[in-house]
Symmetry: C2
Protein backbone atom coordinates (compact mmCIF):
# COMPACT_ATOMS: atom_id res chain seq x y z
CA UNK A 1 0.00 0.00 0.00
CA UNK A 2 1.07 3.58 -0.45
CA UNK A 3 4.23 4.92 -2.05
CA UNK A 4 2.31 6.97 -4.57
CA UNK A 5 4.56 9.85 -5.61
CA UNK A 6 2.67 13.16 -5.44
CA UNK A 7 3.18 15.86 -8.07
CA UNK A 8 4.66 18.92 -6.36
CA UNK A 9 3.29 22.21 -7.69
CA UNK A 10 4.55 25.58 -6.50
CA UNK A 11 2.96 27.95 -9.04
CA UNK A 12 -0.65 29.00 -8.61
CA UNK A 13 -1.50 29.18 -12.29
CA UNK A 14 -0.08 25.71 -12.81
CA UNK A 15 -2.10 24.49 -9.82
CA UNK A 16 -5.35 25.86 -11.24
CA UNK A 17 -4.55 24.45 -14.65
CA UNK A 18 -3.99 20.99 -13.19
CA UNK A 19 -7.31 21.15 -11.32
CA UNK A 20 -9.23 22.33 -14.35
CA UNK A 21 -7.82 19.62 -16.57
CA UNK A 22 -8.61 16.95 -13.97
CA UNK A 23 -12.14 18.22 -13.40
CA UNK A 24 -12.73 18.54 -17.15
CA UNK A 25 -12.43 14.73 -17.23
CA UNK A 26 -15.35 14.39 -14.78
CA UNK A 27 -13.17 13.80 -11.75
CA UNK A 28 -13.66 15.41 -8.36
CA UNK A 29 -10.96 17.00 -6.25
CA UNK A 30 -10.61 17.14 -2.49
CA UNK A 31 -8.41 19.79 -0.86
CA UNK A 32 -6.75 19.39 2.53
CA UNK A 33 -5.13 22.71 3.53
CA UNK A 34 -2.23 22.37 5.98
CA UNK A 35 0.73 24.35 7.25
CA UNK A 36 2.94 21.26 6.97
CA UNK A 37 4.80 19.40 9.73
CA UNK A 38 2.20 16.71 9.24
CA UNK A 39 1.01 14.29 11.88
CA UNK A 40 -1.61 11.57 12.02
CA UNK A 41 -4.38 14.13 12.48
CA UNK A 42 -3.59 15.53 9.03
CA UNK A 43 -3.34 12.07 7.54
CA UNK A 44 -6.85 11.30 8.77
CA UNK A 45 -8.12 14.38 6.91
CA UNK A 46 -6.60 13.01 3.71
CA UNK A 47 -8.28 9.68 4.28
CA UNK A 48 -11.54 11.54 4.80
CA UNK A 49 -10.97 13.30 1.47
CA UNK A 50 -10.52 9.93 -0.26
CA UNK A 51 -14.04 8.97 0.80
CA UNK A 52 -15.56 11.88 -1.14
CA UNK A 53 -13.39 12.47 -4.22
CA UNK A 54 -11.09 10.54 -6.51
CA UNK A 55 -8.28 13.12 -6.50
CA UNK A 56 -6.72 14.77 -3.45
CA UNK A 57 -4.61 17.90 -3.20
CA UNK A 58 -2.74 18.71 0.02
CA UNK A 59 -1.54 22.27 0.37
CA UNK A 60 1.50 22.91 2.54
CA UNK A 61 1.85 26.62 3.23
CA UNK A 62 2.66 28.49 6.41
CA UNK A 63 0.35 31.49 6.07
CA UNK A 64 1.97 34.73 7.25
CA UNK A 65 -1.46 36.41 7.10
CA UNK A 66 -2.66 34.67 10.26
CA UNK A 67 0.28 35.58 12.46
CA UNK A 68 0.42 38.82 14.44
CA UNK A 69 3.71 40.74 14.41
CA UNK A 70 4.28 39.54 18.00
CA UNK A 71 3.75 35.88 17.11
CA UNK A 72 6.79 34.03 15.88
CA UNK A 73 6.12 33.10 12.29
CA UNK A 74 9.82 32.53 11.62
CA UNK A 75 10.16 29.63 14.04
CA UNK A 76 7.08 27.74 12.85
CA UNK A 77 8.36 24.18 12.36
CA UNK A 78 8.66 22.70 8.89
CA UNK A 79 9.88 19.43 7.44
CA UNK A 80 8.89 19.33 3.81
CA UNK A 81 10.75 16.17 2.87
CA UNK A 82 9.46 14.38 5.94
CA UNK A 83 5.94 15.53 5.01
CA UNK A 84 6.27 14.06 1.53
CA UNK A 85 7.43 10.73 3.00
CA UNK A 86 4.40 10.67 5.30
CA UNK A 87 2.06 11.49 2.43
CA UNK A 88 3.54 8.64 0.39
CA UNK A 89 2.86 6.22 3.24
CA UNK A 90 -0.90 6.85 3.26
CA UNK A 91 -2.99 4.20 1.49
CA UNK A 92 -4.08 5.86 -1.74
CA UNK A 93 -1.55 8.65 -1.22
CA UNK A 94 -2.21 12.13 -2.55
CA UNK A 95 -2.12 13.37 -6.12
CA UNK A 96 -0.72 16.84 -5.69
CA UNK A 97 1.17 18.71 -3.00
CA UNK A 98 0.62 22.42 -3.56
CA UNK A 99 3.59 24.13 -1.96
CA UNK A 100 3.73 27.81 -2.98
CA UNK A 101 6.50 30.08 -1.82
CA UNK A 102 4.52 33.24 -1.15
CA UNK A 103 0.83 33.57 -1.88
CA UNK A 104 0.92 37.30 -1.19
CA UNK A 105 3.55 38.00 -3.85
CA UNK A 106 1.70 39.38 -6.84
CA UNK A 107 4.82 39.56 -8.99
CA UNK A 108 5.70 42.15 -11.58
CA UNK A 109 3.33 45.09 -11.43
CA UNK A 110 1.63 43.18 -8.62
CA UNK A 111 -0.55 41.24 -10.98
CA UNK A 112 -2.79 44.20 -11.79
CA UNK A 113 -3.01 44.54 -15.53
CA UNK A 114 -2.64 48.09 -16.71
CA UNK A 115 -1.61 48.66 -20.29
CA UNK A 116 -0.41 52.18 -19.66
CA UNK A 117 1.70 51.31 -16.65
CA UNK A 118 4.44 48.91 -17.57
CA UNK A 119 7.02 49.92 -14.99
CA UNK A 120 8.03 47.38 -12.37
CA UNK A 121 6.43 47.79 -8.96
CA UNK A 122 8.30 46.59 -5.89
CA UNK A 123 6.87 43.41 -4.41
CA UNK A 124 5.59 43.99 -0.90
CA UNK A 125 4.43 41.63 1.79
CA UNK A 126 0.96 41.23 3.18
CA UNK A 127 1.89 43.20 6.26
CA UNK A 128 2.97 46.22 4.23
CA UNK A 129 0.72 49.12 5.02
CA UNK A 130 1.07 51.21 1.86
CA UNK A 131 1.48 50.89 -1.87
CA UNK A 132 0.34 47.82 -3.75
CA UNK A 133 0.45 45.24 -0.96
CA UNK A 134 -2.27 42.70 -0.20
CA UNK A 135 -5.23 44.49 1.34
CA UNK A 136 -8.25 42.25 0.83
CA UNK A 137 -9.45 40.33 3.86
CA UNK A 138 -12.39 38.01 4.42
CA UNK A 139 -14.02 38.48 7.80
CA UNK A 140 -16.58 36.16 9.36
CA UNK A 141 -17.49 38.89 11.72
CA UNK A 142 -19.19 37.15 14.64
CA UNK A 143 -17.72 33.66 14.57
CA UNK A 144 -14.16 35.03 14.45
CA UNK A 145 -14.63 36.61 17.87
CA UNK A 146 -14.42 34.65 21.11
CA UNK A 147 -12.53 31.45 21.98
CA UNK A 148 -9.20 31.48 20.12
CA UNK A 149 -10.15 34.79 18.43
CA UNK A 150 -10.06 36.48 21.82
CA UNK A 151 -6.30 36.15 22.28
CA UNK A 152 -5.47 36.18 18.54
CA UNK A 153 -7.58 38.99 16.99
CA UNK A 154 -6.27 38.73 13.39
CA UNK A 155 -5.91 34.96 13.37
CA UNK A 156 -9.23 33.97 11.81
CA UNK A 157 -9.17 36.89 9.38
CA UNK A 158 -5.92 35.40 8.09
CA UNK A 159 -7.29 31.86 8.06
CA UNK A 160 -10.49 32.76 6.17
CA UNK A 161 -8.54 34.82 3.65
CA UNK A 162 -5.90 32.18 2.89
CA UNK A 163 -8.57 29.50 2.59
CA UNK A 164 -10.52 31.68 0.14
CA UNK A 165 -7.31 32.10 -1.87
CA UNK A 166 -6.61 28.36 -1.83
CA UNK A 167 -10.20 27.64 -2.87
CA UNK A 168 -9.82 29.99 -5.83
CA UNK A 169 -6.47 28.53 -6.85
CA UNK A 170 -7.24 24.83 -6.40
CA UNK A 171 -10.98 25.02 -7.23
CA UNK A 172 -11.78 21.82 -5.33
CA UNK A 173 -15.16 20.09 -5.02
CA UNK A 174 -14.61 19.20 -1.38
CA UNK A 175 -12.40 20.63 1.36
CA UNK A 176 -11.63 18.81 4.58
CA UNK A 177 -10.99 20.51 7.93
CA UNK A 178 -10.48 18.90 11.31
CA UNK A 179 -13.06 19.35 14.03
CA UNK A 180 -10.13 19.59 16.43
CA UNK A 181 -9.98 23.25 15.34
CA UNK A 182 -13.71 23.56 15.86
CA UNK A 183 -14.01 27.33 15.56
CA UNK A 184 -11.88 27.33 12.40
CA UNK A 185 -14.04 24.61 10.86
CA UNK A 186 -17.26 26.51 11.57
CA UNK A 187 -15.77 29.77 10.27
CA UNK A 188 -14.78 28.14 6.98
CA UNK A 189 -18.17 26.45 6.70
CA UNK A 190 -19.90 29.80 7.24
CA UNK A 191 -17.63 31.58 4.78
CA UNK A 192 -18.41 28.98 2.13
CA UNK A 193 -22.14 29.44 2.74
CA UNK A 194 -22.05 33.24 2.87
CA UNK A 195 -19.80 33.69 -0.17
CA UNK A 196 -21.52 30.91 -2.15
CA UNK A 197 -18.39 28.89 -2.86
CA UNK A 198 -19.35 25.80 -4.88
CA UNK A 199 -17.42 23.64 -2.43
CA UNK A 200 -18.56 21.10 0.17
CA UNK A 201 -16.83 21.52 3.51
CA UNK A 202 -16.28 18.33 5.49
CA UNK A 203 -15.52 18.38 9.20
CA UNK A 204 -13.37 15.38 10.07
CA UNK A 205 -13.66 13.93 13.55
CA UNK A 206 -11.01 14.72 16.12
CA UNK A 207 -8.44 11.94 16.49
CA UNK A 208 -7.25 10.86 19.94
CA UNK A 209 -4.33 8.79 21.12
CA UNK A 210 -5.19 5.60 23.02
CA UNK A 211 -4.97 7.44 26.32
CA UNK A 212 -7.50 9.98 25.03
CA UNK A 213 -5.22 12.95 24.32
CA UNK A 214 -6.30 14.82 21.21
CA UNK A 215 -3.60 14.50 18.54
CA UNK A 216 -1.58 17.63 17.91
CA UNK A 217 1.91 18.43 16.68
CA UNK A 218 2.37 20.21 19.99
CA UNK A 219 2.02 16.99 22.02
CA UNK A 220 5.67 16.07 21.40
CA UNK A 221 6.65 19.14 23.40
CA UNK A 222 4.93 17.77 26.52
CA UNK A 223 7.10 16.02 29.13
CA UNK A 224 5.81 12.54 30.14
CA UNK A 225 4.52 14.09 33.34
CA UNK A 226 2.83 17.02 31.57
CA UNK A 227 1.23 14.60 29.15
CA UNK A 228 -0.26 12.67 32.06
CA UNK A 229 -1.63 15.88 33.53
CA UNK A 230 -3.00 16.95 30.15
CA UNK A 231 -5.26 13.91 30.09
CA UNK A 232 -7.39 15.86 32.57
CA UNK A 233 -8.79 17.83 29.61
CA UNK A 234 -10.17 14.79 27.83
CA UNK A 235 -11.30 13.08 31.05
CA UNK A 236 -13.14 16.10 32.40
CA UNK A 237 -14.78 16.79 29.03
CA UNK A 238 -15.95 13.16 28.88
CA UNK A 239 -17.35 13.45 32.38
CA UNK A 240 -19.17 16.66 31.47
CA UNK A 241 -20.60 15.02 28.37
CA UNK A 242 -21.97 12.04 30.24
CA UNK A 243 -23.31 14.31 32.98
CA UNK A 244 -25.15 16.31 30.32
CA UNK A 245 -26.51 13.05 28.92
CA UNK A 246 -27.96 12.33 32.36
CA UNK A 247 -29.76 15.67 32.43
CA UNK A 248 -27.18 17.90 34.12
CA UNK A 249 -27.43 20.69 31.58
CA UNK A 250 -26.43 23.72 33.65
CA UNK A 251 -23.42 25.10 31.79
CA UNK A 252 -21.93 26.93 34.75
CA UNK A 253 -21.79 23.72 36.76
CA UNK A 254 -20.32 21.77 33.86
CA UNK A 255 -17.72 24.43 33.08
CA UNK A 256 -16.72 24.71 36.74
CA UNK A 257 -16.17 20.97 36.93
CA UNK A 258 -13.86 21.01 33.89
CA UNK A 259 -11.96 24.09 35.04
CA UNK A 260 -11.57 22.55 38.48
CA UNK A 261 -10.31 19.21 37.14
CA UNK A 262 -7.74 20.80 34.83
CA UNK A 263 -6.59 23.13 37.57
CA UNK A 264 -6.27 20.24 40.03
CA UNK A 265 -4.12 18.39 37.52
CA UNK A 266 -1.77 21.37 37.27
CA UNK A 267 -2.99 22.97 34.06
CA UNK A 268 -3.92 26.58 33.45
CA UNK A 269 -7.23 27.10 31.63
CA UNK A 270 -7.30 29.72 28.85
CA UNK A 271 -10.99 29.16 28.16
CA UNK A 272 -13.62 26.50 28.79
CA UNK A 273 -16.83 27.36 26.96
CA UNK A 274 -20.03 25.54 26.15
CA UNK A 275 -21.38 27.03 22.94
CA UNK A 276 -23.91 26.47 20.20
CA UNK A 277 -22.43 24.22 17.50
CA UNK A 278 -23.18 26.66 14.70
CA UNK A 279 -23.51 30.18 16.06
CA UNK A 280 -20.73 29.51 18.61
CA UNK A 281 -22.74 31.61 21.06
CA UNK A 282 -22.41 30.56 24.69
CA UNK A 283 -25.42 29.04 26.43
CA UNK A 284 -26.69 28.80 29.99
CA UNK A 285 -28.27 25.38 29.61
CA UNK A 286 -27.61 22.70 27.01
CA UNK A 287 -30.93 22.48 25.19
CA UNK A 288 -29.62 22.27 21.61
CA UNK A 289 -26.53 20.79 19.95
CA UNK A 290 -23.57 22.17 21.85
CA UNK A 291 -19.82 21.84 21.86
CA UNK A 292 -17.60 22.13 24.89
CA UNK A 293 -14.35 23.85 23.84
CA UNK A 294 -11.26 24.04 26.01
CA UNK A 295 -7.83 25.64 25.69
CA UNK A 296 -5.35 25.05 28.48
CA UNK A 297 -1.65 25.36 29.17
CA UNK A 298 0.50 22.57 30.55
CA UNK A 299 3.99 23.95 31.12
CA UNK A 300 4.60 26.11 28.07
CA UNK A 301 2.40 24.06 25.76
CA UNK A 302 -1.08 25.33 24.91
CA UNK A 303 -3.48 22.54 24.01
CA UNK A 304 -6.98 22.77 22.59
CA UNK A 305 -9.66 20.11 22.70
CA UNK A 306 -13.43 19.90 22.33
CA UNK A 307 -16.35 17.56 22.60
CA UNK A 308 -19.72 17.83 20.87
CA UNK A 309 -22.71 17.32 23.16
CA UNK A 310 -25.92 16.43 21.36
CA UNK A 311 -28.71 16.23 23.91
CA UNK B 1 -29.64 41.39 -35.45
CA UNK B 2 -30.74 40.97 -31.86
CA UNK B 3 -33.90 39.41 -30.49
CA UNK B 4 -32.04 36.57 -28.86
CA UNK B 5 -34.18 35.34 -25.97
CA UNK B 6 -32.09 35.00 -22.80
CA UNK B 7 -32.62 32.11 -20.38
CA UNK B 8 -33.78 33.54 -17.05
CA UNK B 9 -32.31 31.76 -14.04
CA UNK B 10 -33.27 32.63 -10.46
CA UNK B 11 -31.74 29.73 -8.52
CA UNK B 12 -28.04 29.81 -7.67
CA UNK B 13 -27.44 26.08 -7.96
CA UNK B 14 -29.10 26.08 -11.36
CA UNK B 15 -26.96 29.05 -12.37
CA UNK B 16 -23.72 27.29 -11.39
CA UNK B 17 -24.84 24.12 -13.12
CA UNK B 18 -25.51 26.00 -16.35
CA UNK B 19 -22.08 27.63 -16.21
CA UNK B 20 -20.30 24.38 -15.52
CA UNK B 21 -22.03 22.59 -18.35
CA UNK B 22 -21.23 25.42 -20.76
CA UNK B 23 -17.58 25.61 -19.68
CA UNK B 24 -17.23 21.83 -19.85
CA UNK B 25 -17.78 22.21 -23.59
CA UNK B 26 -14.71 24.49 -23.86
CA UNK B 27 -16.71 27.70 -23.95
CA UNK B 28 -15.89 30.85 -22.02
CA UNK B 29 -18.34 32.92 -20.02
CA UNK B 30 -18.43 36.66 -19.41
CA UNK B 31 -20.34 38.10 -16.46
CA UNK B 32 -21.78 41.61 -16.38
CA UNK B 33 -23.12 42.31 -12.87
CA UNK B 34 -25.87 44.95 -12.75
CA UNK B 35 -28.60 46.17 -10.42
CA UNK B 36 -31.00 46.38 -13.37
CA UNK B 37 -32.78 49.45 -14.78
CA UNK B 38 -30.39 49.10 -17.68
CA UNK B 39 -29.19 51.94 -19.88
CA UNK B 40 -26.72 52.21 -22.74
CA UNK B 41 -23.80 52.22 -20.33
CA UNK B 42 -24.73 48.70 -19.26
CA UNK B 43 -25.28 47.61 -22.84
CA UNK B 44 -21.75 48.72 -23.72
CA UNK B 45 -20.43 46.44 -20.94
CA UNK B 46 -22.23 43.51 -22.55
CA UNK B 47 -20.74 44.37 -25.92
CA UNK B 48 -17.35 44.46 -24.24
CA UNK B 49 -18.01 40.98 -22.82
CA UNK B 50 -18.81 39.70 -26.33
CA UNK B 51 -15.28 40.64 -27.39
CA UNK B 52 -13.73 38.28 -24.83
CA UNK B 53 -16.06 35.30 -24.45
CA UNK B 54 -18.63 33.38 -26.46
CA UNK B 55 -21.26 33.27 -23.71
CA UNK B 56 -22.51 36.20 -21.62
CA UNK B 57 -24.40 36.22 -18.35
CA UNK B 58 -25.98 39.43 -17.06
CA UNK B 59 -26.94 39.45 -13.41
CA UNK B 60 -29.77 41.72 -12.31
CA UNK B 61 -29.87 41.99 -8.55
CA UNK B 62 -30.34 44.97 -6.27
CA UNK B 63 -27.88 44.16 -3.51
CA UNK B 64 -29.21 45.06 -0.04
CA UNK B 65 -25.71 44.50 1.37
CA UNK B 66 -24.39 47.76 -0.10
CA UNK B 67 -27.12 50.02 1.26
CA UNK B 68 -26.92 51.63 4.69
CA UNK B 69 -30.07 51.60 6.82
CA UNK B 70 -30.49 55.32 6.05
CA UNK B 71 -30.23 54.82 2.29
CA UNK B 72 -33.46 54.00 0.54
CA UNK B 73 -33.08 50.50 -0.83
CA UNK B 74 -36.85 50.11 -1.22
CA UNK B 75 -37.21 52.87 -3.80
CA UNK B 76 -34.34 51.73 -6.01
CA UNK B 77 -35.88 51.73 -9.51
CA UNK B 78 -36.50 48.47 -11.34
CA UNK B 79 -38.01 47.50 -14.67
CA UNK B 80 -37.26 43.84 -15.22
CA UNK B 81 -39.39 43.38 -18.34
CA UNK B 82 -37.98 46.56 -19.87
CA UNK B 83 -34.49 45.29 -19.06
CA UNK B 84 -35.14 42.02 -20.89
CA UNK B 85 -36.38 43.93 -23.94
CA UNK B 86 -33.23 46.04 -23.95
CA UNK B 87 -31.03 42.95 -23.62
CA UNK B 88 -32.83 41.35 -26.56
CA UNK B 89 -32.12 44.42 -28.69
CA UNK B 90 -28.33 44.13 -28.33
CA UNK B 91 -26.52 42.54 -31.29
CA UNK B 92 -25.56 39.08 -30.09
CA UNK B 93 -27.88 39.45 -27.08
CA UNK B 94 -27.10 37.69 -23.83
CA UNK B 95 -27.35 34.01 -22.98
CA UNK B 96 -28.51 34.11 -19.40
CA UNK B 97 -30.10 36.68 -17.13
CA UNK B 98 -29.36 35.66 -13.55
CA UNK B 99 -32.11 37.24 -11.47
CA UNK B 100 -32.08 35.81 -7.93
CA UNK B 101 -34.63 36.87 -5.36
CA UNK B 102 -32.41 37.06 -2.28
CA UNK B 103 -28.77 36.06 -2.28
CA UNK B 104 -28.60 36.35 1.51
CA UNK B 105 -31.35 33.79 2.08
CA UNK B 106 -29.64 30.54 2.99
CA UNK B 107 -32.88 28.59 3.15
CA UNK B 108 -33.74 25.74 5.45
CA UNK B 109 -31.20 25.40 8.23
CA UNK B 110 -29.42 28.32 6.55
CA UNK B 111 -27.54 26.08 4.21
CA UNK B 112 -25.20 24.82 6.91
CA UNK B 113 -25.19 21.04 6.83
CA UNK B 114 -25.41 19.50 10.25
CA UNK B 115 -26.64 15.95 10.50
CA UNK B 116 -27.54 16.25 14.14
CA UNK B 117 -29.53 19.44 13.74
CA UNK B 118 -32.46 18.93 11.44
CA UNK B 119 -34.78 21.55 12.87
CA UNK B 120 -35.75 24.50 10.67
CA UNK B 121 -33.91 27.73 11.35
CA UNK B 122 -35.60 31.04 10.65
CA UNK B 123 -34.27 32.81 7.59
CA UNK B 124 -32.74 36.13 8.49
CA UNK B 125 -31.55 39.02 6.38
CA UNK B 126 -28.01 40.25 5.90
CA UNK B 127 -28.63 43.14 8.25
CA UNK B 128 -29.66 40.82 11.08
CA UNK B 129 -27.20 41.13 13.93
CA UNK B 130 -27.64 37.77 15.64
CA UNK B 131 -28.32 34.15 14.95
CA UNK B 132 -27.52 32.54 11.60
CA UNK B 133 -27.60 35.64 9.36
CA UNK B 134 -25.01 36.49 6.74
CA UNK B 135 -21.84 37.63 8.48
CA UNK B 136 -19.00 37.19 6.01
CA UNK B 137 -17.70 40.35 4.36
CA UNK B 138 -14.89 40.99 1.92
CA UNK B 139 -13.01 44.19 2.65
CA UNK B 140 -10.51 45.83 0.34
CA UNK B 141 -9.26 47.81 3.24
CA UNK B 142 -7.49 50.79 1.72
CA UNK B 143 -9.17 51.22 -1.65
CA UNK B 144 -12.63 51.15 -0.04
CA UNK B 145 -11.82 54.33 1.87
CA UNK B 146 -11.91 57.80 0.30
CA UNK B 147 -13.93 59.15 -2.66
CA UNK B 148 -17.39 57.50 -2.59
CA UNK B 149 -16.33 55.39 0.43
CA UNK B 150 -16.10 58.56 2.49
CA UNK B 151 -19.83 59.29 2.47
CA UNK B 152 -20.91 55.63 2.14
CA UNK B 153 -18.77 53.63 4.61
CA UNK B 154 -20.34 50.17 4.06
CA UNK B 155 -20.92 50.62 0.33
CA UNK B 156 -17.78 48.97 -1.06
CA UNK B 157 -17.82 46.25 1.56
CA UNK B 158 -21.23 45.32 0.19
CA UNK B 159 -20.10 45.61 -3.43
CA UNK B 160 -16.99 43.44 -2.97
CA UNK B 161 -18.98 40.82 -1.07
CA UNK B 162 -21.82 40.53 -3.58
CA UNK B 163 -19.35 40.38 -6.47
CA UNK B 164 -17.45 37.58 -4.71
CA UNK B 165 -20.76 35.74 -4.29
CA UNK B 166 -21.68 36.25 -7.95
CA UNK B 167 -18.22 35.08 -9.03
CA UNK B 168 -18.65 31.89 -7.00
CA UNK B 169 -22.15 31.27 -8.33
CA UNK B 170 -21.58 32.10 -12.01
CA UNK B 171 -17.91 31.02 -12.17
CA UNK B 172 -17.17 33.22 -15.19
CA UNK B 173 -13.89 33.51 -17.09
CA UNK B 174 -14.24 37.26 -17.54
CA UNK B 175 -16.16 39.95 -15.66
CA UNK B 176 -16.82 43.41 -17.05
CA UNK B 177 -17.12 46.57 -14.95
CA UNK B 178 -17.51 50.14 -16.15
CA UNK B 179 -14.70 52.61 -15.57
CA UNK B 180 -17.44 55.15 -14.85
CA UNK B 181 -17.44 53.66 -11.35
CA UNK B 182 -13.67 53.92 -11.24
CA UNK B 183 -13.17 53.17 -7.56
CA UNK B 184 -15.51 50.16 -7.75
CA UNK B 185 -13.63 48.81 -10.77
CA UNK B 186 -10.27 49.10 -9.03
CA UNK B 187 -11.64 47.52 -5.84
CA UNK B 188 -12.94 44.51 -7.76
CA UNK B 189 -9.70 44.21 -9.69
CA UNK B 190 -7.74 44.26 -6.43
CA UNK B 191 -10.06 41.76 -4.78
CA UNK B 192 -9.61 39.38 -7.71
CA UNK B 193 -5.82 39.71 -7.44
CA UNK B 194 -5.68 39.42 -3.65
CA UNK B 195 -8.10 36.48 -3.38
CA UNK B 196 -6.69 34.73 -6.48
CA UNK B 197 -9.99 34.44 -8.33
CA UNK B 198 -9.35 32.74 -11.70
CA UNK B 199 -11.24 35.54 -13.44
CA UNK B 200 -10.08 38.34 -15.74
CA UNK B 201 -11.57 41.72 -14.84
CA UNK B 202 -12.15 44.07 -17.75
CA UNK B 203 -12.66 47.80 -17.23
CA UNK B 204 -14.93 49.12 -19.97
CA UNK B 205 -14.48 52.72 -21.04
CA UNK B 206 -16.88 55.34 -19.79
CA UNK B 207 -19.58 56.20 -22.34
CA UNK B 208 -20.60 59.83 -22.94
CA UNK B 209 -23.53 61.43 -24.66
CA UNK B 210 -22.75 63.63 -27.67
CA UNK B 211 -22.61 66.69 -25.45
CA UNK B 212 -20.04 64.96 -23.25
CA UNK B 213 -22.19 64.06 -20.23
CA UNK B 214 -21.21 60.68 -18.79
CA UNK B 215 -24.11 58.25 -19.23
CA UNK B 216 -25.97 57.39 -16.04
CA UNK B 217 -29.47 56.30 -15.15
CA UNK B 218 -29.60 59.40 -12.99
CA UNK B 219 -29.30 61.75 -15.98
CA UNK B 220 -33.03 61.49 -16.70
CA UNK B 221 -33.69 63.17 -13.38
CA UNK B 222 -31.83 66.32 -14.49
CA UNK B 223 -33.92 69.24 -15.78
CA UNK B 224 -32.77 70.54 -19.20
CA UNK B 225 -31.16 73.47 -17.43
CA UNK B 226 -29.44 71.28 -14.83
CA UNK B 227 -28.15 69.06 -17.60
CA UNK B 228 -26.60 72.07 -19.30
CA UNK B 229 -24.93 73.07 -16.04
CA UNK B 230 -23.73 69.51 -15.45
CA UNK B 231 -21.67 69.66 -18.63
CA UNK B 232 -19.26 71.76 -16.57
CA UNK B 233 -17.94 68.52 -15.06
CA UNK B 234 -16.89 67.01 -18.35
CA UNK B 235 -15.64 70.32 -19.77
CA UNK B 236 -13.53 71.22 -16.75
CA UNK B 237 -12.09 67.69 -16.55
CA UNK B 238 -11.15 67.88 -20.25
CA UNK B 239 -9.49 71.24 -19.68
CA UNK B 240 -7.55 69.85 -16.71
CA UNK B 241 -6.45 66.87 -18.78
CA UNK B 242 -5.12 68.99 -21.63
CA UNK B 243 -3.45 71.37 -19.17
CA UNK B 244 -1.69 68.37 -17.62
CA UNK B 245 -0.65 67.27 -21.11
CA UNK B 246 1.01 70.67 -21.53
CA UNK B 247 3.02 70.25 -18.35
CA UNK B 248 0.71 71.83 -15.76
CA UNK B 249 0.93 68.95 -13.31
CA UNK B 250 0.27 70.72 -9.99
CA UNK B 251 -2.78 68.90 -8.63
CA UNK B 252 -3.94 71.72 -6.36
CA UNK B 253 -4.13 74.10 -9.32
CA UNK B 254 -5.93 71.52 -11.48
CA UNK B 255 -8.39 70.63 -8.73
CA UNK B 256 -9.12 74.27 -7.97
CA UNK B 257 -9.89 74.94 -11.63
CA UNK B 258 -12.41 72.07 -11.78
CA UNK B 259 -14.02 72.97 -8.46
CA UNK B 260 -14.28 76.59 -9.56
CA UNK B 261 -15.82 75.72 -12.95
CA UNK B 262 -18.44 73.41 -11.45
CA UNK B 263 -19.26 75.92 -8.75
CA UNK B 264 -19.57 78.71 -11.32
CA UNK B 265 -22.03 76.58 -13.30
CA UNK B 266 -24.19 76.17 -10.20
CA UNK B 267 -23.10 72.70 -9.05
CA UNK B 268 -21.97 71.62 -5.61
CA UNK B 269 -18.80 69.55 -5.53
CA UNK B 270 -18.76 66.49 -3.24
CA UNK B 271 -15.17 65.63 -4.13
CA UNK B 272 -12.65 66.40 -6.89
CA UNK B 273 -9.54 64.29 -6.44
CA UNK B 274 -6.53 63.48 -8.57
CA UNK B 275 -5.32 60.05 -7.55
CA UNK B 276 -3.02 57.24 -8.60
CA UNK B 277 -4.83 54.91 -11.01
CA UNK B 278 -4.15 51.79 -8.95
CA UNK B 279 -3.48 52.73 -5.34
CA UNK B 280 -6.12 55.52 -5.52
CA UNK B 281 -3.82 57.58 -3.31
CA UNK B 282 -3.95 61.32 -3.92
CA UNK B 283 -0.92 63.02 -5.44
CA UNK B 284 0.58 66.51 -5.38
CA UNK B 285 1.92 66.41 -8.92
CA UNK B 286 0.92 64.19 -11.83
CA UNK B 287 4.07 62.18 -12.48
CA UNK B 288 2.52 58.75 -13.01
CA UNK B 289 -0.78 57.48 -14.44
CA UNK B 290 -3.52 59.40 -12.65
CA UNK B 291 -7.27 59.68 -12.71
CA UNK B 292 -9.25 62.79 -11.93
CA UNK B 293 -12.45 61.75 -10.12
CA UNK B 294 -15.35 64.07 -9.46
CA UNK B 295 -18.70 63.79 -7.68
CA UNK B 296 -21.02 66.79 -7.78
CA UNK B 297 -24.63 67.66 -7.12
CA UNK B 298 -26.86 69.49 -9.59
CA UNK B 299 -30.20 70.10 -7.94
CA UNK B 300 -30.87 66.88 -6.08
CA UNK B 301 -28.99 64.69 -8.52
CA UNK B 302 -25.50 63.48 -7.60
CA UNK B 303 -23.34 62.75 -10.63
CA UNK B 304 -19.94 61.09 -10.81
CA UNK B 305 -17.42 61.34 -13.61
CA UNK B 306 -13.72 60.77 -14.12
CA UNK B 307 -10.93 61.12 -16.62
CA UNK B 308 -7.69 59.16 -16.79
CA UNK B 309 -4.57 61.30 -17.25
CA UNK B 310 -1.56 59.42 -18.55
CA UNK B 311 1.37 61.83 -18.66
Amino acid sequence: MGNKEPIIITDKDEMRQWSRSIRAQSNTIGLVPTMGYLHEGHLSLIQESHKHTNFTVVSIYVNPGQFSPNEDLSTYPSDFLGDIQKLKSIPGGVDVVFHPQNLYDYGKNNGVKNDENQEEVKVVSCVENSGMGHETWVRVEKLEKGLCGESRPVFFRGVATIVAKLFNIVEPDVAVFGKKDYQQWRIIQRMVRDLDFGIKVIGAELIRDEDGLARSSRNVRLSPEERKKALSINKSLSNAKSAAGKGHIDCKVLRDSVIHAIHEAGGEVDYAEIIDQESLESMNEIKSPAVFCVAAWFGNVRLIDNMEINV
